[in-house]
Amino acid sequence: MSKHQEGPAYAHVVPVRTLLGVFGALMFLTVLTYAVTYVDLGALNIWVALGIALVKGTLVALVFMHLLWDRKFYAVVLVSALLCVMIFIGIALLDSGQYQADLIPNFAPGITLRC
């Protein structure tokens, strides 16, 4: 194999146009998520922000990280890791929410006393 424009035999070369397209989308979404904070959607705000982040993350993973063209198994690996994190966060949240009522209010003297 010589140094022609065709690239290696065992990996996909992403066209510049695709990269720029994704880049543009990411920029737009960043501005969007910034702008949305000026609109008060109540509890929805965090979900909108996370939703946009998820779209951005997916774009990065699929295109910049080549998941779209690579072995599907890498995607499986990534998704199972995310699943694992979600189980962890989900259960920790579920549990800590349950025992909030047992907390002693004002227990931590914390910083309010020291300064």
């Binding site: 198994f73 962890f88 549990d95 025992y99 931590a108």
Partner: protein, 556 residues
């Protein structure tokens, strides 16, 4: 350090092999050869096993009397903390995968090395660095937080917690790299003709282990980071005095440390699957069931950590969910047990040392597993939690399970590793001594635990004295067994009969390599076949081992 012991081993009789192909400290310490790395791991973990074992004997001796026997309460607390931390993080977690696994995994695949040899070496160096940092904490006066480092005790005690936890953090990296390497190796290095379900079950077990190592260990890493940051900078995440949540620490810790239990036991089950089949000279029963159960255990292991927290302040809802999930993990273990037993049925069973250990494993792990039912069940766990019942249970699983299986594997692959046979008679005797000593030590602890004796007690109520005395004497017997083992194994390195390539009649590919193997493992391309099919080999009394029946070799 201890790597020199391994270099001291004389080359086996015969031609060049991985032990004698190059010499000197550098040729070992910077080797990329998985076999040498495995041997260095072996030497290191055995040194730490000795250290942890001495600490265990100190604990048992201190507990001979209800009050002070030979050390102060503070020293005792440090000793049991270090015993736990060293045994868990320095010995038992890397024990089977990193030492034995590193040696046999590529051989069993018929490969020349693991996929990422440099990472493998880095993993060993990280292990050594982490271990030295952890041991440095002894020099700094020891740590008294318990190996679980529960906040806020660990964040407020004035002992060397940071050093030990940083050591554990580094060791975590070592463990991740080993697991990662194994997964890649099994995916990418399987020879043509070996599908997933043609792999020896040891490899399935290592695969499941590696999944847990990769997915769970980072959480330990971040837990240790948070603990260190908490101590050094007072960040307040786990310290209730700063508004933090100490129960959250336990979630963090057990999210790793429960799956870690399966990092310890899964490869042990892999070894037993190999040994039982080979020494029964019969195809393993229910291959797929055992393979799937390994993966099932790995998957379930992430869902049950809360059963360490039934009395901790975890909500009742979570207690119930975790109790239900906990029982699910007992099923695959039971299935494996039935499969091993069925493998022996109508076999042709040979009672060499590895098989004695395998039988001992089935006995001890049976008790360990069944006593887990008491602890998974909510109402009984409330009574038994944090008592010696728990101590006995996890020693039955971790020691009676993992360590016994480790010894089975060590004896099973010893001829392959060093090209020498050990003294079979002494092997059997010490296997029996260790098992008997173990039962005396820990079975009594079940009784005193269910009677209410809390764990981690320096002094105790007089009524528990007889139990403790029996337990301590059991531990001395066990120690005697271990010294006996060390003695005949070391002796075998110098005086042992040269080992044939296949002394036990194993059908997996590692037995096609010479004993000990050459640098790149195989002199000729190994034959891929069913790892549990013993029909194409014959016993050759002249060499004391099995040889492939040549004409029938080309079955693939």
């Amino acid at each position: 350090m201890s790597t020199h012991d391994a270099t001291a081993a004389p080359p086996a009789v015969g031609s060049e092999n991985y032990l004698n192909c190059s010499h000197g400290f550098r040729s070992w310490f910077f080797t990329l050869d998985h076999k040498r790395i495995g041997v260095m791991y072996l030497a290191s973990i055995l040194s730490f096993f000795l250290l942890g074992g001495i600490l265990a004997l100190l604990i048992r001796t201190e507990l001979l009397t209800p009050t002070r026997t030979l050390m102060s309460a503070d020293d005792y607390n440090k000793v049991f903390t270090l015993h736990g931390a060293i045994m868990i993080f320095l010995f038992i977690i890397p024990g089977i995968p990193a030492a034995l696994g590193n040696f046999v995994l590529p051989l069993m695949l018929g490969a020349k090395d693991v996929a990422l040899p440099r990472l493998n070496l880095a993993s060993y160096h990280l292990y050594l660095i982490g271990a030295l940092i952890a041991v440095l904490s002894i020099v700094q006066g020891g740590v008294d937080a318990g190996w679980t480092f529960y906040a806020p005790y660990s964040t407020t005690t004035n002992t060397a917690v940071v050093t030990l936890t940083f050591g554990v953090f580094v060791l975590g990296f070592s463990s991740v790299f080993t697991g990662l390497n194994f997964i890649v190796t099994m995916h990418k290095m399987r020879p043509a003709g070996m599908g997933w379900f043609d792999m020896p079950l040891m490899l399935w077990a290592l695969y499941a282990t590696s999944i847990i190592q990769v997915l769970a260990t980072p959480i330990l890493g971040i837990t240790m980071v948070l603990l260190i940051v908490e101590r050094v900078m007072g960040i307040g995440i786990f310290d209730p005095a700063l508004g933090g949540d100490p129960v959250l620490y336990q979630h963090f810790f057990w999210f790793y440390s429960h799956p870690a239990v399966y990092i310890m036991i899964l490869p042990a089950m892999g070894i037993i699957s190999e040994v039982v089949s080979v020494f029964s000279r019969k195809h393993i029963f229910g291959y797929r069931a055992i393979a799937y159960s390994s993966i099932a255990i790995a998957a379930f292991s992430f869902l049950v950590w809360g059963h360490h927290m039934f009395t901790s302040g975890q909500s009742e809802l979570m207690n119930m969910i975790f109790s239900a999930l906990t029982f699910s993990v007992s099923i695959p273990s039971a299935v494996k047990m039935f499969n091993w037993l069925s493998t022996m049925y109508k076999g042709s069973i040979r009672f060499d040392t590895p098989m004695i250990y395998a039988l001992s494993f089935m006995f001890l792990f049976g008790i360990g597993g069944l006593t887990g039912l008491f602890l998974g069940s909510l109402a009984t766990d409330i009574h038994l939690h944090d008592t010696y019942f728990v101590v006995a249970h996890f020693h039955y699983v971790m020691f009676g399970g993992t360590v016994i299986a480790f010894l089975a594997g060590l004896h099973y692959w010893w001829p392959k590793m060093f090209g020498r046979m050990y003294d079979e008679k002494w092997g059997r005797i010490s296997a029996i001594i260790i098992s008997v000593g173990f039962n005396i030590t820990f079975f009594t602890q079940f009784v005193m635990g269910s009677q209410g004796m809390p764990r981690r007690y320096y002094a105790y109520v007089d009524k528990f004295e007889p139990y403790h005395v029996i337990s301590s004497f059991g531990s001395y017997l066990m120690a005697a067994g271990f010294f006996m083992t060390a003695w005949y194994l070391v002796k075998s390195l110098y005086r042992g009969r040269p080992a044939p390539a296949n002394p036990w009649g194993g059908a997996a590919m590692e037995w096609q390599a010479a004993s000990p193997p050459v640098l790149h493992n195989f002199t000729e391309e190994p034959v891929v076949g069913d790892p549990y099919d013993y029909s194409n080999q014959d016993y050759d009394p002249a060499i004391g081992g099995y040889v492939l029946r040549k004409p029938e070799v080309s079955d693939r």
